[in-house]
Symmetry: C2
Subunit: 461 residues, 2 copies
C-alpha cells in the first residue's frame, strides 16, 4: 500500500532545483550525491544559466522538463525558493525536499506560511526547509549535500535516523556508517513546516527496510499525534530517542536552535515510557543502543545478565554497571555450577561474574558460553575478552562468541577494551554480526535498552 511520504524515498524522477557546476556549491553536491549513489531513476538538473551539469542535460525550470517529475530537491537562494515551489506545483511535482534555509530559523516565519499555502494549493508534501537532504540506502537515493570525504556513506541495512538537528544526525550517522553498521534511511527534517517528526515516524513504522528507528528530538509540535506515532513504531520495531533540552540550559538552547519548546523532562520521560520508547541520556549511549538493536538476534526474556570475563576487574566493573543501570545479576543454577566446576581451574569459582582467568583457553570460554546459554536463569550474556594476555586465541574466541550469537538463543554482547589486539579481535568477530562494544558499561547500557523495549512490548501483549 502506498504511503503519502513514499515519494521522498521511492521517487522515479528527481529534479535538483538550483543545481550548480561549481563544485563547492550545495547544488553541485546534491546532484553529485545522487549520481555517485547510483540513483536508478531520472535525474534533472534545473538551472537557467547552464546547459549541462555533471554530464546531465540542464533545464531552465522544472516546468520545462519533459515528462513527469515526482520529487524536487530545492537548493536555490531563499529569495526565489517560493517561486521554485510554485513552478514545481504547476509541473505536478508531489514531493519537495527543501534544503534552502532562511525561514523561521532566520526570523522569517511568514515565508513558511507562504510555503505551506503553496504546498496545500498544489497538494504537495515537503520535508524541510533547512535540511541536509535525505538518504535511502536501499533505494540509492542520496540528496545529502555533505560530501563523501566528510560524511561516510553506509551500506544498506536496518537503521533509520530521524534528526531534528542535521549536525547530530549526520555526525552519529558518520560514526556508525564508518563502523560498518547498515542503514535504511537518514532524514534531517529541519523546520518541519509540513512533514513533521510524527509523520516520519508513521512512515518508518510501516517501512519494511527499517528495523530500528533512532531519533534525535528537541521539541514536538503536536504531543498527542507524536505519542500515537511512537506507539505505531514501537508495536513494530524499537524506537530509540535522545531528547535534547532536558535541562533548563539545554531547553534555552533548543529555543534558539530550532525554535522548539523543549518541554518538561518529566512529561517527556513519562510519555516515552508509556509509548514503549527507549531513551538515552548521552549521545554515545544512544548510538550504542541503536547498534545493539541492529545486531541483536535474540529477544531477552528478562533483565538477568551473566558476565563472562578473562579479567577479574572487568567482571567487577561490569557487575557494578549491571546493578547501577537497573538490570540484574543472573544466579547460576546448580547444574551450571557443576558443569563449570569440571572445566574451570580450582582457583576460580563458578559464579557470576564468571572469571575464566587470564590464561583462559578456548575450551574454558566455550564451556562458559555453553553453560550460560543453557541456564534458564540467564537472559543476556555479556562476554568479555581482554586481548592483552597472550593466551587468548582471538580467532577461536571470536568463533565461540559468534556462533552463540548466530544460534540466536539469547542475546550475547561482546566487550573488548584495547588497541591493536582489540581491533584484530573485532575483525574476527565482524563476519558473525555479533554486537561488540569497547567498554563494559556501554554494553550494559545498551543491554538495558534492549531489555526495556522487549519488556514493554511483552507487557503490551
Amino acid at each position: 500500500m502506498a504511503h503519502p511520504l513514499d515519494g521522498f524515498f521511492r521517487a522515479e524522477s528527481i529534479a535538483v532545483v538550483g543545481a550548480s557546476r561549481q563544485p563547492d556549491k550545495v547544488g553541485h553536491a546534491v546532484l553529485e550525491a545522487l549520481q555517485r549513489g547510483g540513483f536508478p531513476g531520472r535525474l534533472y538538473p534545473v538551472n537557467p544559466n547552464a546547459d549541462e551539469i555533471l554530464g546531465l542535460k540542464c533545464y531552465p525550470s522544472v516546468s520545462a522538463i519533459p515528462g513527469p517529475v515526482r520529487q524536487a530537491v530545492i537548493v536555490v537562494p531563499v529569495e526565489i525558493a517560493l517561486d521554485a515551489v510554485k513552478d514545481c506545483g504547476k509541473k505536478g511535482v508531489t514531493h519537495i525536499a527543501m534544503i534552502t534555509a532562511g525561514f523561521r530559523e532566520a526570523g522569517h516565519p511568514e515565508r513558511e506560511e507562504q510555503l505551506l499555502k503553496l504546498l496545500r494549493k498544489y497538494r504537495m508534501r515537503c520535508i524541510g526547509p533547512n535540511i541536509l537532504g535525505v538518504l535511502d540506502a536501499h533505494a540509492k537515493l542520496d540528496t545529502l549535500f555533505l560530501p563523501v570525504n566528510r560524511l561516510t556513506r553506509p551500506t544498506p541495512g536496518g537503521i533509520s535516523i530521524v534528526s531534528q538537528s542535521g549536525a547530530v544526525g549526520s555526525a552519529l550517522f558518520d560514526v556508525a556508517a564508518a563502523e560498518g553498521h547498515g542503514f535504511a534511511k537518514f532524514i534531517s527534517y529541519g523546520n518541519a513546516t509540513d512533514v513533521d517528526e510524527s509523520d516520519l515516524l508513521d512512515y518508518l513504522a510501516q517501512d519494511t527496510d527499517t528495523k530500528v528507528v533512532a531519533m534525535y528530538l528537541e521539541g514536538v509540535r503536536d504531543g498527542k499525534k507524536f505519542i500515537r506515532a511512537c506507539r505505531k513504531v514501537t508495536r513494530q520495531k524499537p524506537l530509540v530517542v535522545i531528547k535534547g533540552g532536558m535541562t533548563a540550559a539545554g531547553g534555552k538552547a533548543t529555543m534558539s536552535h530550532t525554535g522548539s519548546l523543549a518541554g518538561s523532562a518529566e512529561v517527556y520521560a513519562g510519555a516515552f515510557k508509556q509509548a514503549g520508547v527507549v531513551t538515552a541520556q548521552f549521545l554515545e549511549q544512544f548510538l550504542s543502543m541503536v547498534k545493539l538493536f541492529e545486531h541483536a538476534r535474540a529477544v531477552p526474556k528478562g533483565p538477568r545478565v551473566a558476565i563472562i570475563t578473562n579479567g577479574g576487574g572487568f567482571g567487577v566493573e561490569a557487575s557494578d554497571a549491571v546493578i547501577e543501570e537497573g538490570l540484574q545479576m543472573a544466579e547460576f543454577s546448580k547444574k551450571t555450577t557443576r558443569a563449570l566446576a569440571k572445566v574451570l581451574p580450582a582457583i576460580t569459582t563458578a559464579h557470576n561474574p564468571l572469571d575464566v582467568l587470564g590464561d583462559a583457553t578456548n575450551e574454558r570460554y566455550r564451556a562458559a558460553v555453553d553453560a550460560c546459554m543453557a541456564d534458564p536463569g540467564v537472559d543476556i550474556v555479556l562476554a568479555l575478552a581482554l586481548p592483552q594476555v597472550p593466551r587468548v586465541d582471538l580467532a577461536g574466541v571470536a568463533k565461540i562468541f559468534g556462533e552463540a550469537h548466530q544460534h540466536g538463543k539469547k542475546p550475547i554482547i561482546v566487550v573488548t577494551t584495547g588497541a591493536a589486539a582489540s581491533t584484530e579481535f573485532k575483525k574476527h568477530l565482524a563476519p558473525y554480526g555479533i554486537p561488540c562494544f569497547d567498554f563494559p558499561e556501554t554494553a550494559v547500557i545498551a543491554a538495558k535498552g534492549l531489555v526495556e523495549y522487549w519488556t514493554r512490548v511483552r507487557k503490551q501483549g
Copy 2:
C-alpha cells in the same frame, strides 16, 4: 632523596629468575620486554637449565651472578618461588617484582606469610605476587609479560597507572598508549603482600615524571594510611580513582577477584572527596579524565563552561550535560556579546551555547574562541567542530583551537564526533597537544574532574 621503592623503577641491574628460551613462556616475555624496551642497566637471566637466553649469559641462580643485583623479577613456578626469594635475599637483592601467582588468590595465604617473613629477614621490598610486571617509560624498564603485539608500549609522558587489576590496568593503558598519550609508570600490584596501594601512591606523589596518577582500586588494606597517601598525592598532582565494587554485586565480585573487602560506597565517596581525589563511575569516563589531566595546560578558575559549536544540536546536548554533571553554563559579558554580534550572522545570537553555524568560517571560530578566552565569566571552553559540513576548514580550526590551548589562559577542550573527517581533524590537532574527545558528554565529565580537582586544591590552600 632516595625513596625506598626507587629500586623498582631505577634499578641498575635486574635478574629475571625463571627466564626461558621458549617464546611462549612468561620468563621469555619478561626478558624480551626488558631488551626490546632498551633497558640500559645490566640484565641477568637466571635458569639452571640454560647457558644463554636471548643472547645473554644465563646463571643457575641469583647468587651465582657476579657483581651486585638490585632487582629480581621472579617468574618461576610457585612451588620454588620462595626458594628463589631466599636466594635473592642472600645475594643482597633489595627489590623483588613477583609475577608468579598461586598465593592467597589460589587459596594459599600461608605462602604469602612465608614470603613476608623472608622479605623482612633480608630487608627486601616486593611488588606482588600475582602481577603483570612493572613499566617505567622514562627509565626504559619494562618487565610486563604481555607481548608488544597485544599491549601497546607508550611514549614517555606524565600518566602513571596503578591498578589492583592487571586486566583493567593493561587494557586502559593499551587504549591510551595507542592514542599517543604519554606514560610515566604502569604498575599492577597484585596481592600487595608487601608493597600496597598506599606505598605506591606515596612513591608517585614524589615522582617528578608522574603528572597525573590513575588508579583502579577494589579494596584498601589500611584506610588511614591510604587517605594519607591520597592527600600526599593530591597536594602535588591530580589523582583519579575508579573504585570497583561500589554495588553489592560488584563487591561480591571483588571478594573472589582480589579477596578485597570492597567496603561501603558512601564511606569511600566521602573519603575521596576529603582527600581531593577525583573519581569516575565508568572506565571510559575514568580514562577521559586522566587524558584531560595529562593534556590540560591551564587551571580552571571555576565551573563556568562556554560552549562553541558549529552544530546547534550538539550545543543543546553539551548544555544538558554541563547541567546534569553539576557544572555551570557561563553567561557572556556585554562586551563579549557586542564583540560577537559584529562577526556572527544575524540569524544566530551571541549567547551560550554559541552556535557559529554549519557554514562557520575560520574568522567566526576565531572570534568565538577569542571572546570566550577574554570573558572573565568563562572558566572553561568546550570547542565543538563537527567536520561533516564541507565549509569547516579542518586545519584552520585546529590551529585556532590549538593556539588558544598553547596560550594556556583557560582550559579549552575539543569535541569532534565523526569518522574519516574527524580523524583528519584530530591529526591537525595532535601537534598542539590539545585535549580532544569524541562526544560532548565525555568531554563535560572530564572537565568536571578538572574543576573538582582544582576547586579542592584551592580550598585546601
